[in-house]
Symmetry: none
Subunit: 190 residues, 4 copies
Amino acid sequence: MKVFAAKGYHYATVEDIAAEAGAAKGSVHAYFESKLDVLLTLLLMFWKTINTMNAEKLAGEQDPLAALKAVFATFRELLLKSGDSLCWGRILQEGLPQLHTLKSRDLRNKQLAIARQQRRLVHTIDSIIRAGQQQGRICTTVRHDVLRQMLGGASQLLIYGLFMKSGTGIGYSAQDIQASFNQLIDAFAL
Amino acid sequence: MKVFAAKGYHYATVEDIAAEAGAAKGSVHAYFESKLDVLLTLLLMFWKTINTMNAEKLAGEQDPLAALKAVFATFRELLLKSGDSLCWGRILQEGLPQLHTLKSRDLRNKQLAIARQQRRLVHTIDSIIRAGQQQGRICTTVRHDVLRQMLGGASQLLIYGLFMKSGTGIGYSAQDIQASFNQLIDAFAL
Amino acid sequence: MKVFAAKGYHYATVEDIAAEAGAAKGSVHAYFESKLDVLLTLLLMFWKTINTMNAEKLAGEQDPLAALKAVFATFRELLLKSGDSLCWGRILQEGLPQLHTLKSRDLRNKQLAIARQQRRLVHTIDSIIRAGQQQGRICTTVRHDVLRQMLGGASQLLIYGLFMKSGTGIGYSAQDIQASFNQLIDAFAL
Amino acid sequence: MKVFAAKGYHYATVEDIAAEAGAAKGSVHAYFESKLDVLLTLLLMFWKTINTMNAEKLAGEQDPLAALKAVFATFRELLLKSGDSLCWGRILQEGLPQLHTLKSRDLRNKQLAIARQQRRLVHTIDSIIRAGQQQGRICTTVRHDVLRQMLGGASQLLIYGLFMKSGTGIGYSAQDIQASFNQLIDAFAL
DNA sequence: TATGAATGAGGATTCATTCAT
DNA sequence: AATGAATGAATCCTCATTCAT
């Protein structure tokens, strides 16, 4: 994760990964089918964790606005967990090869599993928004999918901003994000 | 641009690029120092265009809310220009090598120029927001840089959504974006 | 061919092949899909040549015994052509990977083409033998396929013997083979 | 033996060998210096067995033709022993690395021992033929080494034929070989 | 003695880049 | 100016071998 985050998938070598783990090149292939498998495994882990955490948090939560805030808080927590680097953030952005280019069946399945987890998160958010709209708690002039994308994008770039190098005009902290993002959600509340 | 967008920087070969341009592999290097140079040139072109278009649109525009809407409209126009594919979108996400890894001085300069253009856009947006806040037109409970990141992120993911494959829960069109995004901006107006 | 013959397929590296050809490693892959493709191409070339030469020689040949002698003479000519090394001989013995292990469709087709050419030679020999048996010129107490295998094996090992290192009890020359092999064929004539 | 026969030396892994033996990878190296050592050990075993069996059979055999038949019968027995696969046959064909490439003295010695056993078989056959020629039982128009190679090659390919896949024009059985091969020997009897 | 996790040398392959034509 | 054949650096992956347990 560290290596991919620091160098990007393509500039990271298997040797780099092994070295970071304090192991030898060959050992990486003892645990992963290929370099791509390492990436896919990480991605799958990320999305699964997101969904698991959300499931726990949302159990029993009735208020759609609170639920929405909780979901995006999960996202922030996970992205910020590693502390000093935007590990997940950079990994999530990596362009993956087309599904049909994947040689092994196992890898194809992994990529499908990732897509499934991503869809699950999407579905979670959309359900909350639609429920909120039906309860008259969330404004209905915005499509649920549009709102979901806006919130997701805003959330992402806010976090990325935390790790941007100086000189890019970012002066806020993790705390600022929390408050402002909740204000954003409230802007769509009724 | 098409090739990078379709395959991603690393999966695109110089041969692909040349073929798309109806030229031969060697010719690419007659006009570009390297493959990376092609990408950097494209990126620089993108950001320069963004800033140029903004400069034109904003000349004489007094209303900060209208100005903000115009700036993000520019972004959308450019990203959507190619019509049937998210060319710029994918290109913009490509992980670039670290500045210090770049061998040639020319490439380093180009990357710096890109950063300059990106900062210029950031400055443009921030100026509008701060002016709006001073004029009492934009709410001051949100930092200007936080608002800028939120708007930028929302804008990006909305557009990416347009190109996502079916099954990802995207049902909106380019028109939906326009209205919803302006509503988002208005949510921060006073 | 020289490299495969000298080192064997697996002990020969692509670099060796390139060096022998006075070219660079990468150039091998400009003309061949893979190292295996080099081998398959050579094998296909060999079997095609065998069949072509036979077709020419046998046109108009009525005598089955003369025809048989001609076919095996072709085999000898080709194996001995390179002069100072048993190029084809060693290449022909190389164990090939199973058809289904082959990654590319092109390689699979090449291997099938080789099998086709081999079958064609087998068919050529068998036809001659059967015709000879029907004409009462070749003894019928031996199955045509048995005789074909015996003649083929004898032919092969005779030639291999020519290239065996001293100390293996080989004292004959290429001329001795010709006479003795024809005597072998005559042993089955009526 | 089974593994080498099924996959070929280079496509067989030590893990395969261990698995077939119901042991673990590491155990192979407890009994053999290296993978090549396994192969050489098998080869040496084969040739030693051949010579031992021949020594027993030939003790007291006066008739050179009967002796020749016995020697090649031994060869057939051994090659066909495994029953359903051409184990020895494929192993015998494996291209070995050049003697001087062998790292360990032990391996070099083993390879020399194999060569010694091969020479011993050659000598056995040649002695029989020469004795037969001196006794006027075997025709003298063929050199003893030429006859030995012809018989050996014929014998080999006949047996290989038994294991060839269908579609290669092989229709005979192990019994057909016996009779036909003896007829071949008789063809050189006086 | 048996194991199997860890190792790293070895080699095939890719593809950006060069340069003679 | 355009080409594309040739190059070789870069790197993934395999698997024989080692060795601590």
